[in-house]
């Protein structure tokens, strides 16, 4: 069997994969291939028919499919190849893949550089351990979104949604648009996990009640969901006796978080971060395995698609340079440590060469909401390298800190920087 060789192979064609493919081609990769398991390019954007995409990159408020279309058109124009309806079965550390599909059969592919862009999967019922019976009618919000927006099925008539993530709130509105009744949205945390604008435009506009510090105690129903029993919880997620309520419904949707999808990464020996669930990467989104890069939600879950696109550009460019043998190996690693109130920081480490000429942005999530003015600070030991002020910090909103060439001197002799968020 012949082995097909490509300079850059991108696994996944969501916003991260599309941007990576474009950047790889534009930076000199001669042959670029996107492998996509669905029958068309675009990934999950195609089912996100609501607006709100592209505000950063295009300064326009676009629906998901429109945002995807712009990149799909660019990919076609650049002569990037795509294998659709194709599954990557295996990836090795020397960048060989076995793939299979109805149209292409079983093939081996070798890549000069690989960009992982598989995105995320949704957390399911089993992963949040919901008690009760096991009837039909318990779905993840994204599955319901695919049915309602792409395939044309309504999964129920009367809904309860667990989790106040953005997909959950957006589905609450969408189902209301299609004539369903959304009884309520439950959130175990004492704060919203999605964006405020989605609370206003998806729940408040349609008088859908949001119950903070509430969860599902039990699912009730034989063949089909008949009701859920909800319960209030305290700050330690313990059920508060006497607060139970039976809510009749035929469908329970789960919007309880996303997990980066990294089965292939693990096979190739890519080291994953315990908190993000995604690869440990440097400022080029290069993983620990030479020639394997990662872009987008496969690394960590972003708030905005625009930032996923940016990450894809960075990874795609670096992958092209690597495949052409034009990327020097890092001379030095400086690791980034999550300090006070910071859950994690991406990139996890960087070569100081990166800030010799241009800026380098670090993205992070906070571990708890602070509704007061804060400093975002980078420290080298006890010495402050830089800081900037924010009016508040919330777990639902990613925070960025930028190092500039002028900071190079302060980090020239250290091997770790700490980023922390403290009250002003």
């Amino acid at each position: 069997m012949s082995i097909n060789h490509f300079d850059a192979v991108i696994i996944g064609s969501g916003p991260g994969g599309l941007a990576a493919a474009i950047a790889a081609k534009e930076n000199g990769a001669g042959s670029v291939l996107i492998i996509e398991r669905d029958v068309e390019l675009g990934g999950i954007l195609l089912q996100c028919i609501h607006n709100g995409f592209g505000v950063e990159i295009f300064k326009e408020d676009l629906p998901g499919p429109t945002y995807a279309q712009r990149f799909i058109n660019q990919v076609a124009g650049l002569g990037i190849e795509a294998m659709l309806d194709t599954m990557v079965l295996d990836l090795t550390a020397d960048r060989r893949m076995t793939v299979t599909s109805k149209t292409h059969g079983y093939q081996e592919i070798k890549a000069g550089a690989v960009i992982l862009a598989m995105g995320c999967r949704e957390r399911t019922r089993a992963q949040v351990r919901l008690p009760g019976t096991r009837p039909a009618g318990v779905y993840t919000a994204g599955t319901a979104q695919r049915w309602v927006n792409v395939e044309g099925y309504m999964p129920g008539k009367q809904f309860v949604i667990l989790g106040s993530g953005d997909i959950g709130m957006i589905m609450a509105r969408r189902l209301t648009f299609e004539g369903a009744k959304v009884e309520r949205v439950l959130e175990i945390m004492p704060y919203l996990s999605g964006l405020t604008r989605n609370y206003v435009q998806c729940l408040q506009d349609f008088s859908i009640p949001l119950k903070l510090q509430h969860t599902v105690k039990r699912i009730i129903g034989g063949d089909r969901v008949e009701a859920v029993e909800t319960v209030a919880v305290d700050d330690r997620w313990q059920h508060i006796p006497g607060s139970e309520e039976i809510i009749p419904c035929d469908t329970l949707l789960l919007s309880v978080g996303l997990i980066p999808e990294n089965e292939l990464s693990r096979q190739a020996g890519v080291r994953l971060h315990p908190l993000t669930g995604g690869p440990i990467v440097n400022a080029d989104f290069h993983t620990n395995v030479p020639g394997i890069f990662a872009a987008g939600n496969v690394v960590h879950v972003y708030d905005l698609v625009d930032w996923v696109t940016q990450a894809g550009y960075t990874a795609g460019k670096a992958a092209a340079l690597y495949a052409r043998g034009k990327q020097d190996l890092p001379a030095r690693h400086i690791s980034t440590t999550a300090g006070e109130n910071v859950r994690y920081v991406v990139p996890h480490h960087f070569d100081p060469i990166h800030i010799r000429q241009e800026e380098l942005s670090f993205q992070m999530r906070v571990s708890r909401p602070i509704e007061k003015p804060v400093w975002v600070e980078a420290l080298a030991g006890t010495e402050r390298i830089t800081r900037h002020a924010l009016p508040y910090s919330r777990p639902g909103e990613m925070i960025t800190l930028t190092l500039k060439p002028e900071h190079l001197q302060k980090i020239s002799i250290i091997d770790t920087i700490t980023i922390r968020i403290v009250e002003r």
Binding site: G42, D61, P63, N149, T196, R197, Y199
Partner: protein
């Protein structure tokens, strides 16, 4: 044209930026007064919400001969909030034929608002 009921102060969560200020709007001598706004945009947002609330609307229409049975569509501009469900009824009754290009007008001047409903993607 104002059908707002502002004898009672009205609470509005501002979505002009992600901060989510809780504004309070009330009417005094025919003028709308906004308090607790963190910036100018907040005040404008509150006045817009009271005098002429609008939202972008995204939904689907049925399509024949396409890869999928549904075509995602959206309004070319924010649509009057009180007419959204009428628009959705109209969309449910609409059926189009593939191929369609992103940006193609699916419904011109929907409900006489001057706002078009356009296709969100290509579909063949």
């Amino acid at each position: 044209m104002e059908k707002d009921n502002l004898e009672q102060p009205m609470e509005i969560i501002c979505v002009a930026c992600p901060k989510g200020c809780r504004l309070e709007a009330r009417r005094e001598d025919g003028e709308i007064l906004v308090s607790h706004a963190g910036c100018k945009r907040g005040k404008q947002y509150a006045i817009g919400e009271i005098t002429d609330p609008r939202r972008m609307v995204a939904s689907t229409v049925r399509i024949q001969g396409g890869l999928h049975p549904l075509m995602p569509v959206y309004t070319s501009a924010p649509f009057p909030k009180d007419q959204i469900f009428r628009l959705l009824d109209h969309l449910r009754a609409t059926k189009i034929q593939a191929p369609v290009k992103a940006g193609d007008i699916v419904i011109k001047n929907a409900l006489g608002t001057g706002i078009d409903v356009v296709a969100s993607r290509d579909m063949t």
